[in-house]
């Protein structure tokens, strides 16, 4: 076997599982599309398409960062992040570049074209078969070029990456809107891809040969600002958690908001071209995309690129020895993680609230949701605007925190099968819920039946929560004393939260909407208890193997 082929196989082996899986999913959905059209079939296919789309995004991430972790590159030297062990193989530089680029291109196009043709188009989305795939390839090659090539200018790779992102976004919008004709659009993408591949070839050769980079007057030694020492281990660990993953969720939300903004601006049915037809007619408008944020995070965490690990690109789940050997009780470590999650969620909620406020002022207006909601509440608001908005913000913050803590559970236990089954469960829910919704809103008999079952389901959830809580307390009793104390505090805090929420809801809602029993039950279910209670025990299970 010649070295070039071996190199090619090396790049292929890591992503072939996901690629085959996605192709299988597309085949399944294509078969479903053959069935006679019905709302059930539509919903099934759309849910499946959503999941497949998520998988495709994960695959793009995998291809893009497969051999190059841009964060490891020496940015100030315009450096290359290509693994040195591959540079010393007896293959030409063009083999090192063209094989991964080739595989990524073929895989991405090979997944997108059948996906578009057999899944999306039959459902009525008039998407082009070619240019979105080209856009993915362009994105991947541009990031690869920025991290493989050794640029002669400091921070050159960062500039290239950001510039590349801008070009891809711009070309996508322009082609989607139909400003250029199709062939011109394709040509522009191909040209951009060619430029990136050429840059990769040139830059990797420079990295291989060790061309010296020109530094702008030598590296400046930054002045070190001495900060006061931490007063306790908890504060130290909290600083670390916030530094390590605090920016992940807000960053993700910012990206999602930008994407949403673009879709909202350009996804209007009155605009020409394909982008205009990507508006999804689900009540609530494109707010549905915000749900994608936690979902995508869960998917990537199942793939091993969890936001909560030390290094995003090493798929290891155990607690790193450096952190497991901190002289802190597991309860304190867990508390640091939860508090850092809360800080992160707070920032995220502020960003979301700002974004929602911004959009409610925009002409697109979420398909009219904001105006209807405002009209419904208008008569009721009056002097209660401020407390109501604060209350809404608090609910938003709690919801984001609940999701963030639930996501990090796959990392906390350190067992991959838990994270995987969690994602599987949520994925199954995504497929099942729209189907149920279908039955909900079409069959009045079902609605009555379900309304009658509602108290039973409610009660069952309450009992489940209670049982899991008691189980958690049993497990905590057997562990460190500190964990037991933590659980008692969590229980107390939860009780306080329930009382507060019930009281506030009772005060704010108009009388007679819900009785006090339902209010109490709802608060009991909403305020997170088990997530918090189980965290230290789950972490202890990971720490002491």
């Amino acid at each position: 076997m010649n070295p070039a082929l071996a190199t090619g196989w090396y790049f292929w082996r890591r992503t072939r599982g996901t690629t085959y899986g996605l192709l299988g999913a597309i085949a399944l959905l294509a078969l479903l599309n053959r069935l006679p059209s019905s709302p059930l079939q539509q919903n099934l296919v759309m849910s499946g398409a959503l999941l497949t789309g998520m998988g495709l995004l994960s695959l793009i991430v995998a291809f893009t960062y497969q051999e190059s972790n841009p964060t490891k590159a020496d940015v100030m030297a315009g450096g290359s992040a290509f693994p040195v062990s591959m540079l010393v193989l007896p293959v030409r530089t063009r083999d090192l570049v063209l094989w991964p680029v080739g595989y990524a291109a073929i895989a991405q196009l090979g997944i997108w074209i059948p996906f578009a043709k057999f899944v999306l188009v039959p459902q009525g989305f008039a998407v082009d078969l070619v240019w979105p795939g080209l856009a993915m390839v362009a994105f991947t090659t541009s990031v690869q070029a920025s991290s493989w090539a050794k640029f002669p200018v400091p921070v050159g790779n960062l500039i290239w990456a950001l510039g590349g992102l801008g070009v891809v976004t711009g070309l996508s919008i322009v082609t989607g809107l139909g400003v250029f004709s199709k062939p011109v659009g394709y040509g522009a993408f191909l040209l951009f891809i060619g430029v990136n591949v050429a840059t990769s070839l040139w830059g990797l050769q420079r990295a291989r040969v060790g061309v010296d980079v020109w530094r702008m007057g030598g590296r400046r030694v930054r002045e070190v600002v001495e900060k006061p020492p931490f007063r306790s281990g908890f504060r130290s660990q909290l600083w670390l958690e916030v530094r390590r993953n605090g920016s992940f969720l807000p960053g993700f939300v910012v990206l999602a908001c930008i994407t949403m903004g673009l879709i909202t601006i350009f996804g209007r049915p009155d605009l020409p071209g394909e982008l205009g037809s990507t508006g999804i007619e689900i009540p609530g408008g494109r707010m549905i995309f915000l749900v994608c944020v936690p979902l995508a995070v869960m998917f990537s965490s199942a793939m091993g690129t969890s936001p909560c690990k030390v290094d995003n690109f090493t798929p290891s789940f155990g607690l790193q020895p450096f952190f497991a050997s901190r002289p802190l009780s597991t309860a304190t470590l867990a508390a640091a993680k939860l508090v850092s999650g809360a800080i992160s969620s707070l920032v995220t909620s502020l960003l979301l609230a700002t974004a929602v406020g911004f959009w409610s002022l925009s002409p697109a207006q979420f398909g009219g949701v904001t105006t209807t909601v405002a009209a419904a509440l208008g008569s009721y608001l009056g002097s209660r605007v401020l407390p109501l908005s604060l209350f809404a913000f608090a609910l938003l913050f709690l919801s984001v925190w609940k999701v963030a803590v639930a996501i990090s559970c796959s990392e906390i236990t350190g067992r991959r099968w838990i994270g995987g089954s969690f994602v599987f469960f949520v994925g199954a829910l995504i497929v099942a819920l729209p189907i149920l919704w279908l039955y909900f809103h079409q069959d009045p008999q079902w609605i009555k039946f379900l309304l009658r079952q509602a108290p039973g389901v409610f009660g069952a959830l309450l009992v489940l929560k209670l049982v899991v809580c008691v189980l958690g307390l049993f497990v905590a009793r057997k562990g460190e004393a500190a964990i037991w104390r933590f659980c008692i505090w969590a229980l107390g805090g939860w009780a306080l939260g329930v009382g507060l929420l019930t009281a506030v809801l009772g005060a704010l809602l108009p009388p007679g909407v819900l009785n006090s029993g339902q209010l109490l039950g709802g608060s009991v279910l909403f305020i997170p208890l088990n997530r918090v209670l189980w965290t230290p025990s789950a972490m202890a299970w990971n720490r002491h193997r």
Binding site: S236, P321, A324, S325, P327
Partner: protein, 294 residues
């Protein structure tokens, strides 16, 4: 007793990593832990820190169970390992500030003195440092709070002699200061001989011996035996661990009293022509290859 390990057994799936190991380390001792790769040294050290729970048996450090009381145990342990476990993105001054929060006994002046001695810049990122500098950074974090127990898991592997001297110097200063305890696991047996009071050897999860260094050195030795006839295969001798040579003269590494060996050799008409001490390295290699065959 600082460390008490009693009948600890630990299995990973099929493999038995530790098999009924019992070990004690009195205060002020420097214990050298030697063994092949995969013998179970790191597993044992992880048990002492509570990172692993024994399937059977008990582990007590400072009289406490490290799994039940991590704060009490880990707060007085300084740990240095061969793996790169420091977060790469942290700068040195951040690492020091972060570590300081955990230990009330942190001596900031001592940390600063070490940093200056080692010549590491405050603003340097851990991942930008060379391997030796990273080891030194880890050493600062392990030593600055003057721990009662220093756990070193092959700290010198892959490091240049200058860094190794720094690490050994740190160990010596630690024991010289109020007799703190050190557990030192290493492949460089010359270093173990230099620094340790007691030596424990683990092979495939079993504890072969745990004894004072001097007793070990006295109970092993090389003798050169000359036989009247040519011996085609290594001749049998009571207590022989390892053989070397051919024809009439054979060098034997023996375990046991020299008198017994002499008696046996004269029985066969052979003569002992030379005697010398055995280094710990030779004992280790001899014992490791004993059952595998030569």
């Amino acid at each position: 007793m600082i460390v008490e390990v009693e009948n600890v057994t630990r299995q990973f799936g099929e493999k038995r990593a530790l098999n009924r190991i019992s070990l004690t380390i009195p205060k002020g001792t420097v214990l050298g832990l030697v063994g092949e790769n995969g013998a179970g040294k790191t597993t044992l050290i992880k048990h002492l820190m509570g990172l692993l729970k024994p399937d059977q048996g008990t582990v007590r450090v400072f009289g406490k169970d490290p799994v039940v009381d991590p704060v009490g145990v880990l707060g007085q342990i300084g740990y240095l390992s061969e793996e790169d476990i420091l977060p790469g993105w942290m700068r040195l001054h951040e690492l020091i500030r972060y570590s300081r929060g955990f230990y009330p006994s942190w001596d900031a002046d001592y940390a600063e003195a070490l940093r200056r001695d080692f010549g590491i810049e405050k603003g340097a990122r851990i991942r930008e440092l060379s391997k030796g500098q990273r080891a030194r950074a880890g050493l600062i974090v392990a030593l600055a709070h003057r721990p009662e127990l220093l756990l070193l898991d092959e700290p010198s592997s892959g490091l240049d002699p200058i860094v190794r001297r720094d690490i050994l110097g740190a160990i010596i200063r630690t024991i010289a200061d109020d007799g703190r305890t050190v557990l030192f696991s290493s492949h460089l047996l010359a270093e173990v001989e230099q620094v340790c009071d007691r030596v424990a050897m683990i092979r495939q999860g079993e504890l072969l011996f745990c004894d004072d260094l001097e007793s070990i050195q006295r109970s092993y030795g090389w003798i050169t035996v000359r036989y009247p006839e040519v011996q085609p295969t290594p001749p049998l001798l009571e207590g022989a661990v390892s053989w070397n040579g051919d024809g009439r003269e054979w060098s034997v590494l023996v375990h046991g009293l020299p008198g017994a060996v002499e008696a046996e050799t004269t029985l066969r008409g052979a003569a002992i022509v030379d005697r010398r001490w055995a280094t710990l390295d030779e004992i280790f290699v001899g014992l490791s290859t004993e059952l595998v065959g030569r």
